[in-house]
Symmetry: C2
Subunit: 289 residues, 2 copies
């Protein structure tokens, strides 16, 4: 769930063209029936206290699935400590733990499905210098903040940038305490494209996430949709990721959009770290138990 | 894609707690690598000309997968006529063909995975009389139209009503030519709940889709989220589905929300049937070939 589950989406997307074994993501209390003893379940909960993950883990244990937990501690470390466990450094927000979690989950998943191993050292070096390209290859985050401030960003991704669009939506929600949405091309060109008002500027601003690794048919749909939205006055934004591989382009753009969400919070005078409403929800739920 | 692909989402959701076999949905040009000769691929394209479906079908054929096509004709009927095929009545919009498509795809899928068979005759009788309950068990669609008109509905579902929320978003897009979004509980309570502005009414109006078949933990999260949104002045809506089974509650609420989208179009003086922007997109793409 939340900041932990995005690790599953990134891993699944990176491996979908390499893995001979199905990869399922569960964001709920219930495992699909097909998750059996033959499945390998990687339970990712940074806090270790996510009740949905605990419920799913209990089901996986009952079914005899192979289990690995990835967590910083909490109930999962206590109650499921008899399974192999990767302990992650404590003390950050789950959504900020993406690099810590992904650098454990991705290599293990690549090994499990027999996919080529990503060179994470190489990518981390390139990520460390990626912000030097901001302002050249891509506008500085502050330019984007000016454009999306007072509007509702709709992040539109395709293929490997689909999960990056979803991550961006969640980061704007949690860090900037602002509304945001995401959608995916080509599906969005079959329905959502009809939804924008013709006659007046919308509250929504489309933000297209682009990549040099896009399939040509995807690029064409992205460009035609951008033009249509531009013609009706929505002032859509194109953001081109950079990097030498799909995963590098996912991570450089994630880093960039994370910074957009933090700068948007600063502009609004908001503390990006606190998530008071999620805490309030948990408090109210606890009082119902 | 679009109106045809929603059949996959409904079927997958109905069967996820019954099927010992994984069910994958592909809304793209590319099959995941794990779709092999051991998989049974049901290709659903009402028009028969959806290029993403044609591309995926060609990959499935290369890999030796078992193939069944469900279509009203088009290129799929011509180029993949050597595979078993279910021909659907022609002449309606793909999104209006959901009952025609689902009544073929669901029983076949239930047979394939060995799940109990849904009595569709029984459900169709109950659906035929469902609109008599509008105004009592659920407000009439016109009441909802008044509330969502000039705002952007966010349909929030859980479990079997998750795909119904997505269908509603797409129907508002395509029929009403209006913006709409969807999200899913519990995932939305881990991020999106932070996104609504505290101080002023939002452009977004949350519409919770409820069911008597909900898990208690889901109900509690739905209710707490509803209360939080209510307290900050968003005037959220609760819509309770009715029916004697999960699938019946999915379909009665789908029927209802379809009518909301059509009545919203009428109120806006818009032709619900035409999708001029999707046609324009196709024309522009064709000129690039």
């Amino acid at each position: 769930m939340g900041g932990s589950s995005i690790v599953g989406s990134y891993t699944r997307e990176i491996l979908s063209q390499h893995s001979p074994i199905p990869i399922s993501i569960v964001r709920n209390y219930f495992l699909p029936k097909w998750i059996s003893k033959d499945w390998f379940v990687i339970a990712v909960s940074y806090s270790g206290n996510t009740e949905e993950t605990l419920a799913s883990l209990a089901q996986a244990e009952e079914r005899g699935s192979k289990i690995l937990t990835v967590t910083s501690g909490g109930q999962i470390a206590n109650e499921f400590g008899h399974f192999p466990q990767i302990l992650i450094q404590e003390g950050v927000q789950p959504r900020a733990a993406l690099p810590l979690l992904l650098s454990e989950v991705l290599p293990i998943s690549e090994t499990l499905v027999g996919a080529p191993m990503t060179d994470l050292i190489d990518i981390s070096e390139s990520l460390a210098s990626a912000s030097k390209k901001w302002g050249k290859a891509i506008p500085t985050p502050s330019v984007i903040v000016e454009k999306i401030h007072n509007r509702i960003p709709l992040f539109i991704g395709a293929q490997h940038l689909g999960p990056v669009a979803y991550r961006a939506k969640c980061q704007i929600n949690e860090n900037s305490k602002a509304e945001a949405f995401n959608s995916e091309i080509p599906e969005a060109t079959h329905n959502e494209i009809e939804g924008f008002p013709e006659s007046k500027a919308s509250a929504i601003i489309p933000v297209f996430l682009r990549s040099s690794d896009e399939d040509t048919r995807i690029s064409q749909k992205m460009e035609v949709a951008f033009d249509l939205y531009n013609e009706i006055g929505l002032n859509p934004i194109n953001l081109h990721s950079f990097g030498n591989s799909k995963i590098e382009s996912m991570l450089t753009l994630t880093h960039y959009l994370d910074m957009v969400s933090v700068e948007l919070a600063e502009k609004k005078g908001i503390d990006a770290v606190n998530v008071t409403r999620i805490k309030e929800l948990k408090t109210r739920l606890a009082s119902k138990d």
